[in-house]
Symmetry: C4
C-alpha cells in the first residue's frame, strides 16, 4: 500500500461484490443470508458501500447495497438497512486501511473457531499458500488465527477489533474468526480481500481435514 | 408474518422453484428424483403448486408442476400425478402457515437423521447461523431438530406432523427430518423456505463434520 | 418396461450423454478420460452408440461417439475406436434390456469397492433413496451392491456379468462395482440410467461418510 | 510421443489454459493466486507461454500470460513478470519433453505431501484410474508419488527435478508434489497435462479419504 489504490466506482464495486457473493455462495461459504461485504468508494469523509441486511448472497442485485459513513449509518436519503455488523466494516476500513472487507460463514471456519475458541486462536504454519497473504513472503511463516468470542454487542466487538488493529507491536492482519460465526478478511481492494478469503478458507480446510486424520494442533 | 405476504403467480412460483431445484441438485441435496417442492398460490380454497412425481430436480420444466387443493388431489382437469408426499405439503401450508415447502435429501441430513433417530432428535446450539431461521434473534439459542420415523404411510405421518405444528406449548418450526429420508423446511414464501433449507443443511454439515472429528452430541 | 420404450435418435442420445458427462465430470465422477457411456438406438440388430475411447468426459463433442453392433465392433465405415469396455455395454444392452449404460469412477465408489472387494459386496439398507431404483417401492429394502474383481480381461468379465444378469433366481439389477475401478449402472433409457447413477453415488457417499464416523458395515 | 505433437498457437494455448484455470479454481485446486500454468509454443529456441505472477486463476484474461525463453526470462519487449516458479516449467518443458505444465494447490495434495514428506513419497497402487497416466496400461501398477522439500530456492529445486527427469534408470514421470505446497503435472500437450492433474488429484482424494477411514499407507 505504498501509493493510495485507485478507488472503484459504485458500479465497479457492486459488480465485483456480486461476483464474489455468487462464488462464495456456490462454495457454501455464504449460505442463507449470512455474510456481508463492503468496499470503500471514498475517504474523508468515508463512503463505504455495504450489502443490505438479509439478502441472499448468491443472487445479490445492484440494489442490494447501501452507502454508509464513518458512523455506520446509511447516507442521507438512503432508506435501506445496512447489516447489523456494519460497524466492523467501518472499523476495518478505518483502522486496517482496508479497501474492501468480506465476511463469510464456512463450515470449516465455524468448526475451527469453536475448537480454538477457548484458546483465543491457533497457528497455521509452513504452508506455501500462506504466501497469498499480503506481506508474507515465505512459507516458513506461522500465521496466528485469532478467534474473538461471538456477541450480539457489535459496538464492543468493533472496539476490541480496533484495539487489535492499532496494536503497533503485533497488529491484527488479513483476517480473524468470530466463534461459531465466521471469518472477516480484508485487503487493499476487493481482489485482495477476495484472495485473503480464498487463502484462509483453503488453509482452514487443510487444518480441518488434517485434524480429521487425527493430526495435532499447533499452538504458539 | 404480521401481514399476509403477497402470493406469487404460478409463473413466478414455477421459476423460483426451478431455480431452487437446479441449485439443490447441484449441491447433491436433490439427486435422482428425490425431493419435492411446493408454493401456495392461493388460500380459501387452497391452491398449492407442487412438483409432479418422479421428475429430475436439476432439470425441472415449467410443465413439471401440478395444482392441488386441500385434499392433496390434483385440481379438476389436471391429469398429472403429484408426489406421494403431497399431503405433508398441504399440512404444512395449512397448519404452519407456510407459503412454500421444500423437501431435500442430503447426505448429512440422512446420516444425522439415522444417528439421532432413536432419540427422536438432537439440539444444535450456539451457532450464529441459527439467526437465519425466522424468529431466532441470538446465536445463544438451541434449535432442536426433530426426527420422525420413516414410513410409507404418509397420511399418518401428516397427522403426526399436524399435531406437532398445532402444539401451542412447543410448536414445530422451520423444519424437521424423516429418518434416513430427508429434510422438510418451510417459510412464509419461497425465499424464506430456501433460506431455511440452506441454514439447516449448513448446520447439518457442521454437526456431521464435528462428529467425524470425534465431537460429542448435544441432547436437550 | 411393460412396453418397449421409444428409442432416442442419435442426436437426442448424443445430447443427453454429453449433458450427463458434463454433470458427472463436474461432480468428480468422471475425471480424466475415465468412464464411458452408451445408449441403444436400435435392436435387431443392436445399434449401440458409445463414447469413443479416451475422450475427456466434461467436454464431449458430438463427434466423440461411435456406433457398435452386437459384436462390440464399430459399424462398417466408422473408423473411431470404441472403449475397451464396450463389450460390457453390449452385454448390459442385451441381457439386462438396458436402453442406456453409464460407467463412472467416483472416489466413494472406488473406496467402497475395495473395502468390500474380498467379501464380493455389501448391503445398503433402509434408505428412502433406494426407492429411486426401478422396482424398489419401499425403503424397507436391502440393496446388495455386488463387487467384481478388476481385470484387463473384459470378455471374461462380460461373461461373468451376463451370467449374473441371466440368473433367474437373483438377477443382477441397477448397477454393480468393479474393484478399485468404478460403477456400471443402467436403465430403460438415459434418464433412468442417470437416475440410477445419482441414487447409487448418493448412497455410496452416505455409506462412506458413515464409516468415517466409525459406523459398522451391513453384510447380508 | 512417437511423432512431434502439433504446437498450439498462442491463442489456442491461452484459451485452453484459461479454461483449465476456471475449472481448477472452481474445484478448489487453484485458490487465491496460487498455481501457474504453461504451454510450449515453440522449441529451438524455446517459446514457453506462462501465466503472469499473482493473477487469480479462476478469471485469467488473455493478457495474463507472458512468453519466456530457456532462461526463464520474459521475451524482449515483454514487461510482464512471470511466476517465480517459471524455471520449473522450463525444466519440465526441456527435460521431460512436456508440451504443457500445470501446477495446482489442492487440499488433499497439500496434506499428503506433508504426511509423506519425511519419507520422500509414497506409492499409489491398484487403481484403474492409474491407466489415465501416459504409459500405464494396467491397474496392476504402483505409481510412486515423489515429494520434494519446499524451498524458496527455485533454481536449486529446478536442478533437483532435472536430475530426476534425466535419471535413465527411473525417470520422474507425470507429476510430483512439493511439500505443503502443491502438485506439478505435465503431458505432451495441454489436454494430457490436464488429464494427469485430474487423475492424480482423484487418486490423492481416494488416498486422503482412505486414511481418514483409518487405512494404512503403502510404501515401496
Amino acid at each position: 500500500m505504498n501509493q493510495p489504490p485507485t478507488r472503484p466506482s459504485a458500479t465497479e464495486a457492486t459488480d465485483a461484490l456480486r461476483a464474489a457473493g455468487a462464488d462464495f455462495h456456490h462454495r457454501g461459504w455464504s449460505l442463507g443470508t449470512s455474510s456481508n461485504y463492503s468496499a470503500v468508494l471514498g475517504r474523508d469523509p468515508l463512503d463505504l458501500l455495504v450489502t443490505v441486511s438479509g439478502k441472499h448472497k448468491g443472487r445479490l442485485s445492484a440494489d442490494d447495497f447501501v452507502h454508509v459513513g464513518a458512523d455506520g449509518k446509511p447516507a442521507a436519503g438512503d432508506n435501506k438497512k445496512s447489516s447489523a455488523e456494519t460497524m466492523l466494516h467501518v472499523v476495518l476500513a478505518e483502522a486496517a486501511g482496508a479497501g474492501a472487507v468480506l465476511h463469510t460463514h464456512s463450515v470449516w471456519g465455524t468448526l475451527l473457531s469453536d475448537r480454538y475458541g477457548d484458546a483465543g486462536g491457533w497457528a497455521i504454519e509452513g504452508y506455501e499458500m500462506l504466501k497469498g497473504l499480503d506481506g508474507i513472503t515465505t512459507h516458513q511463516s506461522a500465521k496466528y488465527i485469532e478467534v474473538f468470542p461471538n456477541t450480539q454487542d457489535i459496538p464492543t466487538l468493533a472496539q476490541q477489533v480496533r484495539g487489535r488493529l492499532e496494536d503497533d507491536a503485533d497488529p491484527l492482519r488479513h483476517g480473524f474468526l468470530i466463534r461459531k460465526h465466521g471469518l472477516y478478511a480484508w485487503g487493499e481492494d476487493i481482489d485482495a480481500a477476495r484472495r485473503h478469503i480464498e487463502v484462509l478458507e483453503f488453509l482452514f480446510e487443510c487444518e480441518g481435514r488434517r485434524l480429521a486424520w487425527g493430526g495435532e494442533s499447533v499452538r504458539l
